[in-house]
Amino acid sequence: MSWSALGGSLEQGLAYGVLALGVYLTFRVLNFADLTVEGSFPLGAAVAAVLIVGGTPPVVATLAAVALGMVAGAVTGLLNTKMRISGLLASILTMTALYSVNLRIMGRPNVPLLRQPTVFTELSAAGFDHPLQALMLFAAVAFGLKLLLDAFLGTQLGLALRATGDNPQMIRSFGVNTDSMTILGLALSNGLVSLAGALMAQYQGYADVGMGLGMIVVGLASVILGNALVRPSTVARGTLGALLGSVLYRLAIFFALRAGFAPTDLRIVTAAIVILALSAPALRESLGRGRRLPAPAARPARGSVSASRAEER
């Protein structure tokens, strides 16, 4: 029981890793607190589920979910840049509107996918039937998208996007329209989040209008946890951190449940994980201070260097 549950945690960790990549893009790269995620995740699930039930091939349904997720992100971007609504509020408005949109799309709060084709049954039909099928698919998708995102953020366009999050005034002075960059970043991010929603719906066998609840915290927890582990000095390390953070978060939840926490306690466990990850640099520093030798030779010690770097940030 515990092995398959552990495997399930890994699978979920990788699937939600795609969401974490999206959150990394807005939260870390674009420096934009985007709550659209809570609406675009169930949007992806709803679109994929409804299309699959209607007879659309699962892969096409999943791609359609990505496209609509990008539209949702672009709406938040337009509200923020063209209508000058603050990023946080713009994304809350899109998220709120998406709740109704998702209900309209599904026609009811829940669409089951029992005995329907999914990307998993397609894989089995194509001859790839393996106990680790879901794990391998999610790992391929998550790491494939990580590499794609790394490559994109190294292109001329990607550099302009990163600079928009870092220093909008500077990048405007080099002829870049920061409004377009913000919209592009939000669209890409929510496309990823929507993809995660579409995959999760097919994985768990249903789409539910409430499945977006708390998703932004899951995404943030993953990114923050990942960054505490892998110092995000480069984009490649940042995205790797987001994926590892997502897997680690699911494992933490798994062990919390095994340790006797009730499923209803998971929210406080999540909060505790995020607090721990956020305070890690400060904790490391205060621990390091007690141990630090008076001689300057103590400086290159691993802990103190990373702590002092974290302090600079």
Partner: protein
């Protein structure tokens, strides 16, 4: 050539009244001329630069660059032709990105940004050669995040980034004011070298009267949104800081009370 005609900008100051920051400014700068701009706080120097760069919209008047009316252009569109260095070294570069990534962003000024790699091997070699001329050792730190550089290094990099595509106009907004005196002189020397090498039309705002006379070939002084002094050529060549102050006092018929101006 930059031509400003009747340029005017006011800001609301509350209570329904407005402050005129730039008032009916007419200015023509021929191509290749290096103009220094001085004036006390609130004289309208920075507003003038912001109007030219497109950060502010004028209430009235027009801006023409190389024969094209750019008055209605947005900031990012003008940026294709206008390079700018800010006072704060943090403003001109993206700190979380590496030196070579910043240079790549600058090299794409005004061009459509593609999905091609930002930093290619050919570009890296070019950046290395470009930075080697600065003699700041930056050519060995292409992969260092800009945030780890010193203020002077960062401002030198900003200057290189602003000028590497040889823009039609270079705006320097007190770009040495935040540096220590020694570093400021180094950055000024670099400024002079780059401007003369590329033959850039330049507008440099400074609080330092000595620098204003030391650099460039024409000096204008602003007061209450207007140009009150405009000297060039032989007249300017023989001028000292105290001459400049005296001329200003005579023109306005009043004393300058701004301490920063006097101390400069």
């Amino acid at each position: 050539m930059l031509v400003l005609k009747q340029l005017t900008k006011t800001f609301p100051v509350g209570g329904g009244s407005v402050k005129t920051a730039v008032s009916d400014v007419n200015l023509t700068i021929p191509t290749g001329q290096f103009v220094t701009v001085i004036g006390s706080n609130g004289a309208g120097k920075s507003t003038l630069l912001n109007l030219i760069s497109g950060r502010h919209w004028p209430d009235y008047g027009s801006i023409e660059l190389n024969g094209v009316d750019i008055t209605a252009w947005g900031e990012h569109r003008r940026a294709a032709y206008i390079g700018r260095v800010f006072q704060d070294p943090l403003q001109g570069t993206a700190g979380s990105m590496t030196v070579e990534e910043n240079l790549s962003i600058a090299e794409c000024r005004g061009r459509r940004r593609s999905l091609g790699r930002g930093v290619t091997r050919a570009r890296r070699e070019r950046y290395k050669a470009l930075l080697a001329q600065l003699e700041l050792g930056l050519e060995h730190r292409l992969k260092t995040p800009v945030a780890e550089l010193s203020g002077g290094q960062r401002q030198s990099l900003s200057l290189i980034m602003a000028t590497m595509t040889r823009p039609s106009l270079l705006l320097l907004d007190e770009h040495t004011a935040a540096l220590d005196p020694k570093t400021a002189l180094q950055v000024l020397a670099l400024t002079r070298r780059v401007v003369s090498e590329y033959g850039l039309t330049t507008l440099m705002v400074t609080h330092n009267l000595e620098h204003a006379l030391l650099m460039g070939d024409r000096t204008i002084m602003m007061h209450e949104g207007q140009i009150v002094l405009d000297v060039a050529g032989a007249e300017r060549a023989g001028m000292t800081v105290s001459d400049l102050l005296e001329r200003f006092t005579r023109t306005r018929g009043e004393r300058i009370v701004d301490e920063r101006l006097l101390l400069g």
